[in-house]
């Protein structure tokens, strides 16, 4: 090949083509996506180009996805720096494409709008462990909190045979002074992972934040384009 301008142009436009096609147009389509109410209603005065009433968000209804609490945001930092996403995805595929919904990993498929408030999107590409998009829906409340702490401390306690590594370094083993701490982990009776008598295992602030983050992962709301089936 001797035509140098052609070679340069070809090299340039080859990548410019996919950059425009995937990144620029992907951004054009999704870059302005905002949280929404669960359903839309027909506007009374606005019409679309076909003269049909425009679908708008009803006033006073809550917007989704929700903002997450500060402590959950801190927990997300731990999730990121420990590399949890290298075994856990955060996306639910549609019914009949994989068994995500049948396994209870979420009540509906996740859509682009579910991720618009996240400053780092952790979709993940591997499920060495289960999907976590709806973990907070599966393990809710205080029982969910306790389960997650035990599971993080050592997964074998509540999930025998798991290949997840223990995150005991996020916990402190300390001597019980006077009374056991309120946040001490409640081991099942006779657990081989329980501390010595007179000692207790308490979560560090990072562990607490991480569990709050995990519990904040919930697909418990509908979106106009992705309603939860009745």
């Amino acid at each position: 090949m001797k035509n140098m301008p052609l070679l340069f142009c070809g090299i340039f436009f080859a990548l410019a083509f996919s950059y425009t096609g995937l990144i620029v147009s992907g951004n054009a389509q999704l870059g302005g996506l905002e949280p929404s109410t669960e359903t839309l209603i027909a506007s009374e005065d606005l019409v679309d180009e076909n003269g049909q009433p425009l679908m708008v968000m009803p006033e006073g209804e809550p917007l989704f996805p929700r903002n997450v609490s500060g402590i959950a945001q801190q927990g997300k930092k731990a999730y990121i720096d420990l590399g949890c996403m290298y075994c856990h995805s955060q996306q639910v595929r549609r019914k009949d494409f994989g068994a995500d919904i049948d396994r209870g990993w979420g009540p509906r498929a996740t859509v682009a709008r579910d991720y618009v408030l996240q400053d780092r999107v952790l979709l993940g590409t591997i499920r060495t462990g289960p999907d976590l998009a709806h973990l907070g829906g599966r393990y809710a409340g205080d029982a969910g909190r306790d389960w997650n702490h035990l599971h993080l401390y050592n997964p074998q306690i509540v999930s025998k045979g798991s290949t997840m590594p223990p995150f005991a370094f996020l916990y402190r083993t300390q001597e019980i002074v006077n009374e056991p701490s309120a946040d001490a982990l409640q081991f099942p009776p006779g657990s081989e992972y329980a501390p010595e008598p007179g000692f207790e295992v308490v979560p560090t602030r990072r562990a607490e934040a991480l569990v709050e983050y995990l519990l904040s992962l919930k697909i418990d709301y509908s979106l106009p384009e992705a309603p939860i089936p009745e």
Binding site: M1, K2, M4, L7, I11, F12, A14, L15, F17, S18, Y19, G21, L22, I23, G26, N27, Q29, L30, G31, L33, I80, D81, L82, G83, C84, M85, Y86, C87, S89, Q91, F97, G98, A99, D102, R103, T110, A112, Y115, V116, Q118, R120, V121, L122, L123, T125, I126, R127, T128, G129, P130, S159, G161, S162, T163, M164, P165, P166, F167, A168, F169
Partner: protein, 491 residues
Amino acid sequence: MSNESQILSPSTDPYSSDNAVERTELSAIDASIRTASVFFVVSAIGWLMIGTVFALMAAFKAHNPDFLGAYEFLTFGRVRSAHLNAMALGWGSNIIFAVGLWIMARLCRAPVDHKGILLIAGMFWNIGLTVGVFGILRGDMTSVEWLEIPQYATPLLAISYALIGVWGVMAFRFRKGDHVYVSQWYILAALFWFPWLYIVAQFMIIWFPARGVVQSLTNWWFAHNVLGLWFTPMALATAYYLIPKVLGRPIYSYYLSVLGFWALAIFYNWAGVHHLIGGPIPVWLISAGIVASVMMVIPVIVVGMNHHMTVVGLHREVWRSPTLRFIVFGAISYTLVSIIGSTMALRSVNEVTHFTHFTVGHAHHGVYAFFTMIMFGGVYYMMPRLLKREWPSAGLIKIHFWACAIGITIMVVALQTGGWIQGMQMNDATIPFLEVVQNTIPWLKARSISGLFLTVGHVAFAVNVFWMLFAAGAVRAKEGPTLLTKEGGAA
């Protein structure tokens, strides 16, 4: 068909020549880039060994989660990320700088001036990478696939890259002769594509995060193209340069080379979206990625045919030459891994393989069985020319080849078989998830065994290189090159 190549001026022809003037010229070019290339080879091998240690730890942890479980900095997520970055940017990019720039300088017939700058930039690349890998281990990782290096180390990497990559472009700018050989297209294009990809990805994901899943889209456009537009063109350039060079026979068809190059340039960079099949991304984008992935069959078949037709009938020579034994293994792997990759992009197949170890097997098939094996071959050819010394041990080369060839084959077969079973079971909600996990364990153990094979190969390689570098006096004077079989004989 081969007439096309024979009309090249003899000096730009990449195959061996008896012409003394030409050999002197090549020798002068080799001398000009020797320090830099040897530095990059040594750095690359250093990272290869570091990456191997991280790989073994991560592989063992995958089936024995308590192994080194008490140390936060060695938790699985960090170790596997340290492994990936040590291998991709440490081994992969350093060896590209070593072999790619050397091939570029030779084909352009342009000795490298101001080599001090190249060397210093190379040092900064490795310093940036060291900072980055430490950053990952101490907990500053980004959790963005293929971009785990913390924000504070990436500007240094970007600047060093610019100062290294520019030497390839400069060589091209000051090239002599009219003809531009296919390897030069690939190297020039890759040197231009990689920084574009890297900078866009850094800006849109890390520095000024784009909204929602646009990040994921950018992430996979980038990450797949690290393989497609950085590793792949460099490995193909090396194969295109060295197959004819060693065999003394021109590339079979110029037209196939052109077709293969442009088809790769046009299709490969759209393919990455297939990592998001089934995900929360507009379907049209995913469909575009699937179409491009399937279209990749064209450049792959074309390049495969071109390489095959060039070596056909000379298999005994391929087997004798350390360089070609590795390169032909890599070239065959390229065809295999690419066809599997195109198949994996089909929705019905992806429904099973996505989210499983099948993908991990596929990634190693590409980066190792294809790219790394070809680069090993490149080093076996380049080092004797740079150092004017022969390889001390043919035995070590054979150990290197067999350990790596067997190791990577076990790994790919184990992960893809285990991954397929994992995917089928994961899609059957009646099988408890923990049971699916348990069923992957034997395959993950096989992966650890494959890692031991690869380690043996890497050690043999490193010993041979350092023996050649530092114990030259101990190397008996040889007549002719180190070959793996006797003339016309079997292994």
